[in-house]
Amino acid sequence: MQRMIVAGLTAVALLALSACGGAPSSGEAGAPSPTQTDKLTVVTHDAFTLPDELKAKFADETGLEVTYVAPGDTGTLVNQLVLTKDSPLGDVVYGIDNTFASRAASEGVLVDYESPLAASTQEFAAPQLTPIDFGDVCINADTAWFEAAGIEIPSTLDDLTDPVYKDLLVVTNPASSAPGLSFLLATIGAKGEDGYLDYWQALSDNGTKVASGWTEAYYTDFSGADGKGPRPLVLSYSTSPAYTVDGDTSTTQALLGTCFRAVEYAGVLHGTTNEAGAQKFIDFMLSPEVQAAIPENLYMYPVIADTPLPKDWARFAPLSEVPFEVPAEQIGQHRDQWIRDWTEAIG
């Protein structure tokens, strides 16, 4: 009987192995011709949220049965789409940002779509993608801390390496955090490809702490948020001060000279079986109701220019007039190398 068990186990194991053998060539399906279905799968980044009423309205108006999946941050999201391009995860994607946009386009993950509603959004144009919202990733300061310490709040990237601000800043790791990658790009935009690592070395020498993610930095190390940590400077968003309002002032402020502009896009996935539904979803994201809901739900600025903003935003969440920029093609070509180099030098 024991021999039988062993023989049986071997047979099952062999079956398993033969099943694995065929795997690398999986998915020669290519792009099936668009057939109309009433199902739509929307793939988003893990911070996506919209009010239930809006989602229900979209489903009602289009008659589609919509499933939302959220497999990770923008990098994880794009890489999953690249991995599955022969057999796509869904029909439409929202949440690819400009740090990964060129990768999505160059890997053939998307098909073209130009929304009739996207007219006023030329400034963020990216191949095959429709911009939905944008915002700035900036250093935030705890204003009360600086007032109490009698130190002037820093305003530029160079200020952050000044010994006056020693041990005051916490940022996030570009290898594991999306805002961290944005800030890395801000330093590359400011200091150039040859200078950014020296700048980071100076930051490091000045006691800058690198946390693994936004939550740890903002809620554990930063003094201006509810976690009441020890450091009064943190990497966050230009809109974050709108959520630390106390009475008629905010206890934090974004340093608008340290920002990188992040743009979030939507796109129709190559190989979708419901191209029309996917296009409708992109139009939906550009509709006035969704655009108006974006600030309070996604903490970003709506891309359609005349959308009303929450009343606090004009005062507490202004955009930077001089964000640092790095051309998308250049990000696409060098992103991985920059992260690796940064990790070797600083991480």
Binding site: A16, C20, A29, P71, N79, T215, E216, D226
Partner: protein, 548 residues
């Protein structure tokens, strides 16, 4: 049933869990790894050259091995006295303490990061120690997570050791220390080895702890695989590292399996009530002091801190975080909906994992005479432990390229979440149930056969009742693991139906007092749910078990 019938039955019993493991673990993981060895034109091993030429890889391998070994040793050192105290003595408050030590096991890393981070940062309660971002912080969190694995796995065995052997040794003049080293610990060795191998695998494959508490300054094989896969999609290097991870895990399992074979002796197990004795201050002060110390520093401080924070908004002491979470909900869902999703998912996962785990344990506990058959069974057992040692990201990304067409197009299906959790819980169940079955005295089985009991009767009257005793603990652990599972779940997350850990993660990802407060409150509720589950599982064990 005739002997042939039994052979077929055992084969089937092995085939069902094997098929499950193949479909939902081996095939997806192997497919992703194989992609890394295929560069479009043909097969290549270039990933190994790149990866092993980098000093970073060697640092990661070294860190993985040292941190997992140190964590295993520390857990044993601290956990064995805890197992004695919580399972061999009786005192008031013991039940609560047993439940408390298991709570960390289910907490998602983001919660642990917040709980520990607030303690360790410069101005925190333990800030004076300067541990923030050091390997000591990582090690502390690994022990925080795995302490209960040792306490419970070893404790439940200890509770049932026949005290007469120890008593005999003591009567013959052996000192208490000698009894412990010469009689008790050797008898517990299989459970100790079992617990140690689990702790090693959990520690070696922990992603969040190393990332969050190491603050990016330390990397392990697991964090390298995550980085290469999710951020760079460098499957070639990731595959080479996955193979390295597999080799290390296989070696560890082989070592533990060898140690287990050498140490397993049939034990006379007792119902626990017969062996536990009242707490005696003179005799038991040392384990009590150590266990209380561990509990206060590693468990009460971070968990109490979490509770304290959750009761505040701004500087005010308030229940607002809880009431708002309960009434308004957040992120397009309510607390009740997320709680229900979590419970239903965890129940489904536990059901699958327990059913399959029982089958695997029964098959692997056969006692064949031929060596090759015994080896085959040992291999089968190890096979089911592999999911603990293989990266969740490898399995998660593997699902995307394998379960992608009908009838197995499960990628956006809610069914895949409990399945992924069951894959993670299954090894734990096997590791808890097998030592119990192996400890059955073969003479008892032989006596039953000689007296005319057929295999079915032996199974029903002797083996199943024994299995039943381990089942409460196994179910509790499986349920708690599923409840807190975040790694695999996060890749399959559905924003409209989040589990509690996913909801907590999303709440902690946004600015504002309200979301932060609600995230804390939800974390405390998850911890409470875990404590209650474990306490209930403890009571689930039936008393009417066969004794002799």
């Amino acid at each position: 049933m005739n002997p042939w019938g039994w052979r077929v039955a055992w084969l089937l019993a092995a085939a069902v869990p094997l098929a499950f493991l193949t479909l939902f673990f081996a095939w997806p993981a192997a497919s992703l790894v194989l992609r890394g060895f295929h560069d479009g034109d043909g097969w290549t091993l270039s990933g190994f050259q790149t990866v092993f030429a980098s000093p970073r890889t060697w640092r990661a391998v070294g860190f993985t091995l040292t941190s997992a070994t140190a964590s295993t040793l520390l857990c044993l050192l601290l956990g064995l006295p805890g197992a004695y105290l919580l399972y061999r003595t009786r005192f008031a408050g013991q039940g609560a303490l047993r439940a408390l030590v298991s709570v960390p096991f289910v907490l998602p890393t983001v919660v642990v990061g917040v709980a520990f981070g607030a303690l360790l940062r410069e101005d925190g309660l333990l800030g004076w120690a300067g541990l923030s971002g050091t390997p000591a912080a990582i090690l502390g969190a690994m022990v925080f997570f795995n302490y209960s694995v040792v306490v419970r796995t070893v404790g439940s065995m200890w509770a049932r050791l026949d005290p007469r052997l120890e008593q005999a040794a003591a009567t013959l003049g052996a000192s208490p220390l000698r009894v412990l080293l010469g009689v008790t610990l050797p008898a517990l060795a299989p459970a100790i080895v079992s617990a140690a191998s689990l702790v090693f695998l959990f520690s070696a494959s922990s992603y969040g702890i190393v990332m969050v508490l190491g603050q990016g300054s330390y990397s392990s094989i697991e964090t390298e695989i995550w980085f290469l896969t999710t951020q760079l999609l460098d499957l070639r290097s990731a595959a080479a590292l996955s193979i390295t991870q597999l080799v290390i895990v296989t070696l560890a399992l082989w070592l533990s399996s060898a140690a287990q074979t050498r140490t397993t002796a049939s034990l006379r197990l007792q119902p626990d009530s017969a062996t536990s004795r009242r707490f005696d201050r003179r005799r038991d002060w040392a384990p009590m002091a150590l266990t209380l110390g561990v509990t206060v520093v590693l468990l009460v401080a971070p968990l109490g801190n979490l509770l304290w924070l959750s009761l505040h908004r701004g500087d005010r002491l308030t229940l607002a975080n809880y009431s708002q979470l309960a009434s308004d909900g957040a992120m397009g869902t309510t607390l009740w909906a997320a709680g229900r999703t979590s419970l239903v998912t965890a129940l489904a996962a536990t059901g699958m994992a327990v059913a399959l785990g029982m089958l695997v344990s029964l098959v692997a506990s056969r006692r064949p005479r031929s060596t090759s058959a015994r080896r085959g069974l040992a291999a089968l057992e190890s096979l089911f432990l592999l999911p603990l040692g293989v990266s969740a990201v490898t399995v998660g990304f593997g699902y995307l390229i394998t379960l992608n067409r009908p009838p197995l197009d499960l990628r956006s299906s809610l069914v895949l979440i409990p399945i992924a959790q069951a894959v993670v819980a299954l090894p734990l169940i096997v590791r808890i149930l097998l030592p119990v079955l192996r400890a059955i005295d073969p003479r008892q089985l032989e006596a039953a056969s000689t007296l005319g009991s057929g295999p079915l009767r032996v199974l029903l009257r002797i083996e199943l009742p024994h299995l039943w005793r381990g089942l409460g603990l196994a179910t509790g652990f499986a349920f708690a693991t599923s409840l807190g599972e975040f790694g695999a779940t996060s890749f399959l997350a559905r924003p409209d139906n989040p589990t509690l850990p996913v909801l907590i993660f999303r709440l902690f990802g946004r600015p504002g007092s309200e979301t932060y407060g609600m995230a804390l409150a939800a974390s405390v509720l998850l911890a409470g749910l875990a404590g209650i589950t474990m306490a209930a599982a403890e009571r689930l064990r039936p008393q009417e078990v066969t004794t002799w």
